[in-house]
Symmetry: none
Subunit: 244 residues, 4 copies
DNA sequence: GATGAATGAGTGTTCATTCAT
DNA sequence: GATGAATGAACACTCATTCAT
């Protein structure tokens, strides 16, 4: 952002071929970031050392500290560069002024596409994000929570528009959406589904979207299921029990 | 050896089993285990030190090593004692010979009940389990995967019985089920939903179950949605778009 | 020594079969001592744990501490029980009123016999004794030094008696004697010579004795060796330089 | 990169090699090694802590680990740097193509010179080397054994050349040689002889060499000793008894 | 900017020793 | 006397971070 152009000051000797100093620096930073993603995805945040990242990036040990204040900032950058982009795209889908179904499909698509493009990165996100109870480090919670809340608002709006029954709690719907997506991807990460099968990934994507939609939209019409006890009872009952 | 029989003094019901050395040792071990769960849930696996566990349990540092070979074994025990129990109950639900809907509800109930009984423990499970790319330590992967596969089999069986449409991939259905549950609980862990509201927990439980059921069972009847592009086209289309 | 006979005091019930309590205790202590020798010989003093000794002896962990104040005392006892005996016998040989040659042979015999009877014990002595620079523990230095000094006195006496030339420093002769013996045994301990070959042990014993004798007794008659430069030069010179 | 050429400022003789990073690192490593030798010689291997070595060397704790993988490697280096050099020089003496007597004297000289130059180092070698039954660490055994075997070969060769009677077992002769040397030095280490008396050291050196030579070379001519019982009997006898 | 040596606090683990039963 | 659980000091090793070149 703070671009400081300082094109050649008469230094007629050797000049770095491609790109300004600034550009090359940005390049370096990206290299390190990418290396960090790789290493994190292999060993996890805690299991990796700065030395690993440096080696993977092919730069000197101390250079990492030129670009990142400390390990935490590095992690945060990883998330900003990956997660933020992802969340941004999700948010964009959320804000589209189309029918709920289209938005859901859009969100799911964004997630699965991200996985197809950068399985490593997604793996890191899935495995590390939100798993930092120590706080401090990955403050993904915040960003992620924001998106979930945004999605909840989307559902609420859809309910107002009549695009979806009002019985289902909007926040819960949002949560379930991301749960379905995450586990869908986790299935590939853990090897339950074959990650090398492109078609399988696409199929999973569509089924996740449609199944979720079917569940959410059909929530109003309690299909005649054999005994669906809690749909009515539970609410009442629990309220009664609440006295203790 | 030094058996100290202290036959009930009229206390016809529960009898304090304290006294035998063996019993007190088992007690100690449990104390440490509980302390470990507590500490883990507060600081996560990597953020916790043996010293913390010992302090929390109120025992001497070295005693932890009397009962557990090393930190990894302690962690594994935490998961075995918590996770294994949970997975066992899930498995029991899976194997019940009732309609799919009942089984799904049973599974969801087991999970939410576990959370109600021991939020801390569940938090640990959710935040740490399966997030140990370093491998070795938390070998939950295996057990969890087994249960997911078991659930997949359940869905497959249900499809054969005609209790559920065959279009949805059974494995994916299993994965989504656990995803919905996990995220449902995560919502409480992360504070998106109010964990102190017992009724909210029950409501979430039921909605998760019913929504999931609705989605899975209704998967056959693609409700007349405004544009549901991928249901049919997807495979072809995406392959076409792949050119870029 | 302090035998405290307390034959049955009318205790008509169960009585320990063989031996008084005192006797059984002495027995225990010996068992532990033997176990300690074994373990030390396998892992060395520092490499072994009290637990190892206890296990080897087949007694409970804490019992070792009933009989020995601490690890150091245990080690000292090992040396006292083995080393002291050995040194005593050596001392006896030293004090015999016979010709030097006979005494030397006697000493060598004592050492090699000890090895034949208890290779383990000798190994411990050789490998650990005198290797405790930390002081404290093995105060063998003292005892060993005493014996060396005793042997030196023996040589001095022999020189007075004319049984041996006076040129060789008596103290050095003593030192060399034990050096030859120790290395002779070390050869078996390290496997340079075959420890299972009884005849080899006997041969080594005799050759050590005779060679040493030959060297010491012949010290007066500087066999016409091709160039024996230091015998005269160095000695004289150094004595001259000694003034400073 | 930042090469800072500081070509001699008229200092025609010795040039301070300091300046290059590599050189200073080698220097550092040596400093640590020397410190390790010092600490070992004071406290022994087991009694010394990495912290001691670091303090003695005046470097930071962690730096020791920068140069040495772990404590064992440090120890090994200590021995390699000291022991290997010593053994090499001994081996050189062994391989010289001169009369046995000269070689023996050479070997003894090498040993005593080493002691004069670096009593500390020799002390470590004497007190710790070969006393590591735990194996692994000090693999001196191998190197030392090799030299002993080399010396044995030297004696065998001398026997073929007729420089020494054939009765004495060559391997035993080798063993005794080193035994005499070791104990000769031990006498100074233990304080039996005065280590500050340079002349005493020289005298001891020469007497050890000559006495040993006298013993070995005179081995053929069993000086008319009063009763030399085993010289004939024992050998024969033991061979006979060997039947059992 | 780049490099990697230097630093040292933090933590897992061991094990001698004590003590209640 | 026996037993082995309990205690905690001691120490090896790691690794984030700094700094001189």
């Amino acid at each position: 952002m703070a671009r400081r152009e300082r094109s050649g000051s008469g230094n007629g000797k050797a000049r770095a071929p491609r790109g300004t100093r600034v550009e090359r620096e940005a390049e370096r930073k990206k290299t390190i970031l990418r290396a960090a993603v790789d290493v994190f995805s292999k060993k996890g945040f805690h299991g990796c050392r700065i030395a690993d990242v440096a080696r993977e990036a092919g730069v000197a040990y101390g250079l990492v500290y030129h670009y990142f204040k400390d390990k935490d900032e590095l992690l945060e950058s990883v998330f900003e560069s990956g997660w933020a982009g992802f969340l941004g795209r999700v948010q964009a889908e959320i804000e589209k002024d189309v029918h709920l179904a289209a938005r859901i499909r859009g969100i799911v698509h964004v997630a699965f596409d991200a996985y197809r493009k950068d399985p490593r990165g997604v793996k890191v996100l899935i495995l590390e994000v939100g798993r930092s109870p120590a706080g401090g480090a990955v403050n993904r919670g915040g960003a992620f929570t924001q998106v979930v809340l945004g999605a909840a608002e989307m559902f609420r709006e859809a309910q107002r528009r009549g695009e979806m029954p009002s019985q289902l709690d909007a926040a819960l719907a949002a949560v379930m959406l991301f749960g379905a997506i995450e586990m869908g991807l986790t299935a590939f990460v853990l090897g339950i589904l074959d990650k090398r099968d492109e078609a399988a990934i696409e199929r999973a994507r569509d089924q996740v979207a449609e199944t979720f939609l079917s569940g959410v939209l059909g929530a109003g019409q309690p299909l005649s299921l054999p005994e669906a006890p809690w749909t009515e009872k539970s609410g009442t009952k629990s309220r009664a029990e609440r006295q203790s």
